[in-house]
Symmetry: C2
Subunit: 112 residues, 2 copies
DNA sequence: CCTGATCCGTAGAGTCCCTACCTATGAAGT
DNA sequence: ACTTCATAGGTAGGGACTCTACGGATCAGG
């Protein structure tokens, strides 16, 4: 999987991952691996800055939860985050429709 | 449509557009608009450098065809370009499968 | 001759993700 | 006690790709 392909879709992935409940960063990465069937293996240098962006944008909120003396930052969706996720899902559908209109819109001799 | 979303998929779009036959740059842009239902409106500053990349990579070939005294550079797929297009289509399917596994892989109470 | 439409192309900037690296805690081995 | 591994969070810098804005050339119409 070309990593450039994720451009502009990362936010949607993170928001969707948090849709199931609050998670901390490391768990988000693992959840993405699981849900994508192993196709997505995002490095921390991708995920943490992205979560920051989302928090700055007000789409997620984070809290420090001290678990066993270890500090884990747990992220959850805000109301705006839920709305943004819905918008991202719609945008994804439109995006795939547009691309497939081109990819599949070539010469189809069998379909005529 | 966020333009960042196209990242990494532009090559596939161009190759697919040329799959129907040779076209010149301007016609490629118009074809993309038509096939995407108007969702894709790529500026020339995006398309021409991309075509160059594809030509450098050996996926497309171009020829100057003088039509009515006007020079138009016509692009067509090479053999490697056809192979690359097939690979891009496969990659696109894997990509959407991975993303949808996450976007749709949230809490589905109705599916259990 | 001059304007508008068509067509090709370049230069520079901006965004976004990745690689590489650093810090810290807790458990387990020696 | 000390080292190593696994877990967990984070930053710095770079590179690749696309977009905005602009420039040039040819033909049709007036």
């Amino acid at each position: 999987m070309k990593s450039d392909a994720l451009r502009g879709h990362l936010d949607a992935l993170l928001l969707a991952t948090l849709d199931g409940g609050q998670l901390h960063g490391y768990a988000i990465i693992e959840a993405l691996q699981k849900r994508s069937g192993g196709a997505l293996d995002l490095p921390t240098g991708t995920v943490y800055p992205a979560l920051r962006r989302l928090e700055t944008a007000g789409l997620v909120a984070s809290e420090w939860s001290t678990v066993g003396g270890r500090q884990r930052r747990t992220y959850r969706l805000t109301k705006a985050g839920h709305r943004a996720l819905a918008a991202e899902r719609t945008a994804w559908r439109e995006f795939t429709t547009a691309i497939e209109g081109v990819l599949g819109g070539g010469p189809w001799p069998a379909q005529a």
